[in-house]
């Protein structure tokens, strides 16, 4: 039985910046480009926006603790409903889910969700620790974690428990690159092989450079309103059918078990509120900060059994003609990852449902799942869209 809000709110505008490298540009300028693009796509004006959400506290996003207020000031938007939920790369997907509640409750009519970062060109260097070296961080940071290393820890244990191989992980990167081939905006489009992934430098064993997402300067935005209002607009709405979010650990010593993530909870919540099963999903945008991020999501969201993600990927099930086509624009592994891929994943899901993906165009998909994973396998948000 779907939740009573399922299908009551729709995404009516979506835009991804074509930028990939933007030296000299402040990310707020890309925020504005994305806001303009998404509103234009919806046929709306900034004056129509009365709900606003963003996350911009990472160094390369240009804001600090009051990120949503800083960006709202820059844009000149004056919302009566605000969301600055800041759960890493999953944040924009969380914003979409929270916007459903706001619109359904009458707290906002038109919600704008924006995101931008200059992950590549940001001139003010910063470490990639998730915490300070005091408090809980004093028991982890002195040992030298890095973002890649924390994901590598999960990959190693998955290999130990289930026999997952480096080739299985590489198959995910190879598929995303193949999907990027047709996308003129993708950061990289030249095909790669499993051997290419394995031959790329090891960053944190067992993860190679080509197991890691690209780093870009870019952004994306989308606009939500009620299904009732959407039907009078000159757009093809993508209805929000289900949503769930969940928190895992931040310190890696607190990850338990090491081969499953908060996606198991956020995914179950999304399917329950949509009243759907994984087999009813036509395509998915799965957070691909690293190949292992995708593999764990496949299992945790229920697209295959625990431990079977490697075989699922290696068997070609993620291809456009497989059981679950993923990351059809090339994903973060090949198209764009400025910092929080979640916003771009929502945009690509909407494009796919409208039949206008710049990458692989599937044959009239009716449902799309968008899954975000932030931090060090820390936070999770899952959205189910349908037309």
């Amino acid at each position: 039985m779907p939740a009573n809000w399922s299908g009551e709110v729709a995404i009516v505008g979506a835009y991804e910046s074509a930028r990939r490298l933007a030296p000299g540009l402040h990310p707020f300028a890309i925020q504005a480009e994305c806001a303009r693009g998404a509103l234009s796509d919806a046929g709306l004006e900034m004056a129509d926006v009365d709900g606003f959400a963003t996350a911009a506290s990472f160094p390369a996003e240009g804001a600090r603790e009051m990120a949503v207020a800083e960006v709202a000031e820059y844009l000149g938007v004056h919302p009566r409903w605000v969301d600055g939920t800041d759960i890493g790369g999953a944040a924009p997907i969380s914003h979409a889910g929270h916007a459903v509640a706001a619109i359904a409750a009458g707290l906002a009519d038109v919600v704008l969700v924006t995101y931008a970062a200059c992950g590549y060109s940001w001139p003010h260097g910063a470490a990639d620790y998730l915490t300070y070296a005091h408090g809980p961080g004093q028991w982890e940071l002195p040992y030298g974690p890095s973002t890649v290393a924390t994901y590598a820890l999960a990959a190693r244990r998955h290999m130990h428990d289930y026999g997952t191989t480096a080739e299985d992980l590489a198959a995910i990167a190879v598929q995303c690159r193949a999907n990027a081939a047709a996308n003129p905006d993708a950061r990289y489009t030249a095909p790669i092989s499993v051997d290419d992934v394995l031959a790329s430098p090891v960053i944190a064993a067992p993860l190679h450079r080509l197991d890691c997402c690209v780093v870009t300067d870019s952004g994306g935005a989308f606009v939500l309103t009620s299904a009732r209002r959407a039907q009078w607009m000159n757009v093809q709405p993508a209805y929000l059918l289900g949503f769930g979010e969940a928190l895992g650990q931040v310190s890696m010593s607190q990850m338990w078990p090491f081969t499953a993530t908060a996606a198991a909870a956020s995914g179950a919540r999304a399917f329950r509120t949509a009243g759907m099963r994984p087999a009813e999903i036509d395509c998915a945008q799965l957070y691909d900060s690293f190949t292992i991020t995708v593999l764990l999501a496949l299992e945790d969201l229920g697209f295959c059994g625990k431990g079977e993600g490697g075989k699922f990927a290696s068997a070609g099930e993620l291809a456009p003609d497989g059981q679950l086509p993923i990351n059809t624009d090339g994903g973060g592994l090949s198209s764009s990852h400025p910092g929080r891929r979640g916003a771009l994943a929502v945009v690509e899901a909407v494009r796919q449902l409208r039949g206008i993906s710049p990458g692989v165009r599937l044959d009239r998909p009716r449902t799309a799942l968008v899954h975000g994973m932030g931090g060090s396998l820390s936070t999770s948000a899952t959205l189910i869209l349908g037309v």
């Binding site: 028991w139 030298g144 244990r157 130990h160 090891v202 064993a205 993860l207 890696m252 010593s253």
Partner: protein
């Protein structure tokens, strides 16, 4: 581990005892006075049952290598000179897990190998509990 500058833990009144014990060669963990379960990292309450004021107790210092990665490259300048190094999650015999490094050759590491605590001088970090594999 090298004598690289590292990133010193910023201690507080609550954690100072842990770091002082490490300098004396003792690994301290916590045990709940109510549910009797162990925990790491240290907190002012039990993370399992939220009872206040868990007691500190010396750990056996023995455990298993739950998982690990060999860090070849890092964006974090404090640790660049340490590469390559082994970042690990240790499952202590008492149950909790902790983050540490594995000291020694990384060639034949495997998950679930038996390890024991060693205390490593680490520049301005003072002394860090790390782990080494048991001699077969």
């Amino acid at each position: 581990m090298s004598e690289a500058p590292g990133l010193p833990p910023l201690t507080d009144q609550f954690s100072q005892g842990y770091w002082n014990a490490a300098r004396e060669g003792t690994l301290l963990i916590q045990r709940c006075r109510t549910c009797r379960r162990y925990q790491f990292y240290p907190r002012g309450h039990c993370v399992h049952c939220f009872a206040p004021d868990p007691e500190w107790t010396p750990a056996s210092g023995r455990g298993r290598l739950h998982t690990y990665t060999i860090v070849e490259r890092t964006p974090n300048a404090e640790f660049a000179a340490d590469c390559p190094y082994v970042l690990a999650i240790i499952e202590l015999d008492e149950g909790p897990r902790m983050t540490a490094r594995i000291i020694g050759e990384a060639g034949d590491l495997a998950c679930d190998q038996q390890v024991h605590v060693v205390f490593t001088p680490a520049g301005q970090a003072g002394v860090l509990p790390n782990f080494a594999r048991d001699i077969k």
